[in-house]
């Protein structure tokens, strides 16, 4: 099954939204309006968008430290995202979370997470809940190649396999974990070679090709909904930026490696695909789309700026639920 032209445009819009949102977030981080740390997803947009396009609104996802893309792909509100980055009361977490902790349980986005591998088991619990509810819901985990070496990966996939949970585990294999190359931390060819050890199916796809990601996700999601258990999907991709947006952060990645992936930027790839596939899609149309996106990103900044900082005493709220 392949995405309709409608869906393809929607995917492009989401991918470009992620990119523009993060370009702005990076700028505002560097000029001090956003605090702490920002990890950009730029270059990997096709993964989140391809996978989330295969999901229903009621399906659930979890993210990691590099979470903006997953949020936007699942339908999060840019205003509340930006307000959270700005540390304001109208942010998703009322200013308590920041970039690494954006969540929107109402749309099935169970949170970014600052612990590498931390989300793997949590979202498996969402899969358990979906299984017990019996309405065909699916839960999806986004995680990095670095996270695939954490014990939680193993424990979670093994449980999901043993219990046939309706899960999709999506490894965003960008070949680096902070400043450490995956060549130093993996001896097998593909991370997904590990699936066989749990008795579950896997696939490796070009993570910069949103159609390939989408097709693989559709197949895996169908399997999960049918009660056939989890799938491990490995998406080969690359981040265009350094590990974090911190000014002056070292980036030990070889220049040629970066260049070769930049040449395969998922957004132009999808634009080209749309242009070829449907004569009607043009650079002009893309420009119009981008203008709308820029307007929405600007609006999110205005929303964030208009929102007050939390009262200091608000720090004492939300420690416990009633």
């Amino acid at each position: 099954m392949t995405a309709s032209p409608e869906l393809q445009r929607q995917m492009l819009r989401q991918m470009q939204t992620i990119r523009r949102f993060e370009e702005r977030a990076s700028d505002d981080y560097r000029n001090g309006a956003i605090y702490g740390v920002v990890h950009c997803y730029i270059g990997e947009e096709a993964v989140a968008v391809g996978v989330c396009s295969a999901l229903d609104a009621s399906d659930q996802i979890i993210s990691n430290h590099r979470g903006h893309g997953h949020c936007i792909a699942k339908g999060a509100d840019l205003n509340r995202m930006m307000a959270e980055l700005y540390g304001r009361v109208d942010g998703y977490c009322k200013g308590k979370g920041g970039s690494m902790h954006i969540a929107d349980f109402a749309i099935g986005m169970l949170g970014a997470n600052g612990i590498v591998g931390g989300g793997l088991s949590i979202v498996t619990g969402a899969g358990l809940a979906a299984q017990m509810e019996g309405k065909g819901g699916v839960a999806v985990c986004f995680f990095g190649d670095g996270a695939s070496n954490a014990g939680s990966f193993h424990e979670s996939l093994n449980i999901a396999a043993s219990w046939k949970l309706p899960m999709l585990y999506v490894c965003e294999h960008n070949s680096w974990a902070a400043n450490t190359s995956s060549k130093m931390t993996h001896a097998a060819d593909n991370m997904s070679d590990r699936a066989a050890g749990y008795g579950i199916p896997s696939a490796v796809v070009d993570g910069n090709d949103v159609m390939a990601v989408y097709d693989a996700a559709v197949e895996a999601v169908a399997r999960a909904r049918a009660g056939e258990g989890p799938t491990l999907l490995e998406c080969k991709t690359y981040r265009h930026r350094a590990h974090t947006e911190r000014a002056g952060a070292v980036d030990p990645r070889p220049a040629e490696e970066i260049a070769s992936w930049m040449a395969r930027d998922p957004i132009p790839m999808l634009v080209d695909h749309l242009k070829q596939q449907q004569g009607q899609f043009s650079d002009k149309e893309f420009q119009a789309m981008d203008d709308e996106i820029m307007t929405a990103v600007e609006a999110s900044v205005a929303f964030a700026e208009a929102s007050p900082f939390p009262a200091p005493e608000a720090a004492l709220e939300d420690v416990f639920a009633d």
Partner: protein, 321 residues
Amino acid sequence: MSMREISYGRAGMEALVEEMRLDPKTLHLATDAPPDLVEEFGASRVRATPIAENAFTGIAIGAAGSGLRPIVNWSMVTFCFVAMDQIVNQASKIHYMFGGQQTFPIVFRSSVGGGTSLAAQHSQSPYSMFMNLAGLKLILPSTPYDMKGLLKSAIRDNNPVLSFESTRLMGLKGEVPDEDYTVPIGVADVKREGSDVTVIALAWLVHEALAAAEEMDKEGVSVEVVDPRTLFPLDEETMRASVQKTGRVVIADEAGPTAGAAAEIAALLTEDPATFKALAAPPKRVCALQVPIPYSPSMENHVFPDRKRIIAGIREVMAAG
């Protein structure tokens, strides 16, 4: 209220069974599925997990965030350290860091304490580790009544609650009501009234303190025994009121003293001006020696506090000041 005698261990199981009957959203996760629970509630709600405490603790968090009410049994507290990341970095903070948008009702049960020659790894009482964290409720029942009532409160609570259950008390019998009841989290219990000295005792030590109190009674020393029952929230008022009345306090805990619950209790008492003023003697901690727990009974018995050491502590604070 009509009452029955049951054991501390049985009281825990009754709390589970009754609450699981009441709420179909509850489920049970542990490396061994208790056969009674499987029989009544089925293998879907009562799951045997792989030995993967980190994952099944996280699974409980995710299931809770998706509307279920998981009850996790780590078995010995020892095994929860495998899952510590999920407890410290996720469970204790997840409600807060997401701005309170979702609740995470989870009970994490584990057994604590020593006295059974299981050596250092399997004889631990590390509850104070979780006190310094913010975002977890902590219960530490000392009787079948408190066990059942506190565990029911924990299961009904909308927050992660850690239930520390004393290995030494598993067989202890006591009365519990036939009817449904709960014990509120955060309310201490004066287990014995007295006027000369307060012993604040935790879990197994409550019983040693009561025995010590009987002994001291013969010498004309009237001992009040206060059981905090929950470590977070900790009922400062009841403890302070008792110490303001008696002017002397011994704090008894099976854990080591250093940065333990006993240290916190001592600090809470002395930093309160009225209690500080009322104190006629330094507060005295009667805790385990600050060592890993040795296997051989000859050494193990030496490490743990007991009624004798409580009595010595009482004598010391009675003599001082």
